[in-house]
Symmetry: C2
Subunit: 366 residues, 2 copies
């Protein structure tokens, strides 16, 4: 990669690291004897998808019908749409289910009732269980609600109960491995309890969050993991402890466009439409929208943090320089920003440049 050719914010991808992350997670699932159904919403790219196939991955997860159709057209034949099935898209769901093994998600009885009898091809149905994240799904201990749903699934010819699916997104607020494991153990025991107490057969248990999937070693009782973010990881995951900063596989190359010595700051061409407005709160209460590190033709280095992106507007990223940094930035320099949330950055830029200089533009539409 020739960084002197970078003129504007460019999403860089370290292919070796991404492949290593994929290999790590696939190996972990294999060793545990559980299914690995990675979530493709993080990369949204057919080319990166091929790197999973190289690790014998055949089953995937997506977060929209649009994404499902895209990956189906790229040859994927076993897909779970891990988002509440949208009554407005039932025709599309039927068309996909005619062609591939499709699982959909139910998160409440009314939703299921709204489309159950309109399904005209075989689909597996996962029931979304809320073990504490409080985003969507049935609270794990509302057994009556779960039974009603299971009964309706049972009644409809084309629906087949696939299992219970949860996403313990509250691990994203954890700050240590111990905290992640504690949330995971709580989630697992609730899932197992609910499965064991209910007279519903064939209920597989599927979990998804990258922190748990990265840090847990005992998957006893769990049938499937669906992590997505781990393929690239990011600043959030490294702060949780799911990865080290050396595992992070993407960064945004940004030109330095202005320096302000009086305020010890620089301005980057790289703002909310490149990095997103996702932030982390530092111990001193300040926000950071990314960490600035140095970049060469060989890639970025995380050895020394040059500064923190303290604010972003549409195209501007304002960086507070680290007091101890020996690197003196000048307008015209190109730096790398390790982003807070790699899924959102990828969705914004929709194009990767690998460290070998390959440009990957084959992306899912929105």
């Amino acid at each position: 990669m020739d960084i002197s050719r970078i003129k504007k914010p460019t999403l860089l991808l370290n292919e070796n690291r991404a492949r290593k992350n994929i290999s790590f997670m696939a190996g972990k699932a294999r060793e545990a004897g559980i299914s690995f159904r990675p979530h493709f919403k993080t990369h949204q790219s057919a080319i990166v998808g091929e790197w999973f196939r190289d690790e014998q991955v055949g089953q995937i997860t997506v977060s929209s019908v649009t994404m499902c159709r895209y990956f189906m057209e790229k040859g994927w034949k076993d897909i779970t749409i891990a988002f509440p099935a949208n009554p407005a898209e039932i025709d599309d769901i039927n068309a996909i289910a005619e062609k591939i093994n499709l699982n959909i998600l139910v998160s409440d009885f009314e939703q299921l009732s709204a489309f159950a009898w309109k399904i005209s091809a075989d689909v597996g149905v996962y029931v979304k269980i809320d073990t504490g994240y409080r985003r969507s799904g049935i609270d794990w201990n509302r057994y009556g609600d779960l039974l009603r749903i299971a009964d309706l699934i049972n009644e409809v010819k084309y629906l087949r109960m696939a299992g219970f699916l949860t996403h313990s997104g509250h691990t994203y607020n954890a700050r240590s491995k111990e905290e992640v494991l504690s949330i995971y153990n709580d989630t697992r025991s609730k899932m197992l309890h609910t499965r064991d107490i209910l007279p519903i057969s064939d209920t597989k248990l599927s979990i998804g969050d990258t922190p748990s999937c990265s840090l847990v070693t005992d998957f006893n009782g769990i049938d499937e993991i669906r992590p997505g973010n781990f393929v690239f990881y990011d600043l959030t995951q490294s702060r949780i402890g799911s990865c080290t900063t050396d595992d992070i596989a993407v960064a945004v190359a940004c030109p330095v466009v202005s320096v302000n010595h009086h305020h010890n700051e620089v301005v980057l061409y790289g703002g909310a439409v490149h990095l997103s407005k996702e932030y982390l709160t530092e111990d001193d209460g300040t926000k950071t929208f990314g960490k600035v590190v140095s970049l060469s033709n060989d890639g970025w280095t995380v050895d020394s943090i040059i500064g923190s992106v303290r604010s972003v507007s549409q195209e501007h990223g304002v960086v507070t320089l680290a007091n101890n940094s020996e690197i003196k930035l000048k307008p015209g320099n190109i730096v790398a920003v390790i982003t807070v949330h790699s899924c959102l950055t990828t969705d914004l830029l929709r194009c990767f440049t690998t460290l070998e200089g390959e440009v990957i533009t084959d992306f899912c539409g929105k």
Copy 2:
């Protein structure tokens, strides 16, 4: 518009309101006898740009070289790039300056030095002044720094001093017209003071923030306004008082995919990749990522707020329903979300559907 055809998050545009907003601001500038150079970063669309031409607008502002080239190719011949000129894009700037009247922005001496002698076609140079927002630019009272910059501009054949440009983005934190006016008056007096004290000729004064441009009536001393967001406005602007909710010209149509009666919530297909992660903090400390209102074929109504988007993940928007709302949402319903920041939502969705059902896909690249 037939809302029964909406299957996924769709950016709706009320053309009449946008045209009314354009007409209002153009008329205001005309009455004040000042230049109107609207910022096109909010809409990024050639079609919406034509609505400005219908109001005799001939000069525009953009936030990137890419955007400048896009609008130049759509026939715009007088453009200011209101973002610090990027030393990595000087060849592109020269190519554009060969063809149209171009103004660029300088925000520090080092930046100017990095490219000044590489400019090979006439460009106007605005010097970015910081009157308190603290994003970029020279502090208004660093006269020595300003003189050094003016001297170098003067020295280089192709550069011409255009004036002082500021963006009082701190008006976005205001909560009343009085607060906005107070910030504006402070900005104006600093700008006038600096211009008057320095022996630099031909310095026009250009201001940009939508709150000031919407609420100020006395533009005495100001030569140009460059607001952008006002074309659509949004929840942030209505909270500041720059507009009423009836002036907001865009909303995102979102399918309801799940209901949770136990928690008084619904889940929308509409998350961070549609609404952005921009939020407002409510008086009780909670965050809101958008307000949910009802939608019919005639458009959305702001008469009653159905609920607030309390959290967003990639595709999910979780809505806390208002206790006093009489509208009972069901999976399959389509609602409208009034977004916190219309510029970011537009950048994410890059396609408008007007209330007449016209689909506008002619958008600037990134």
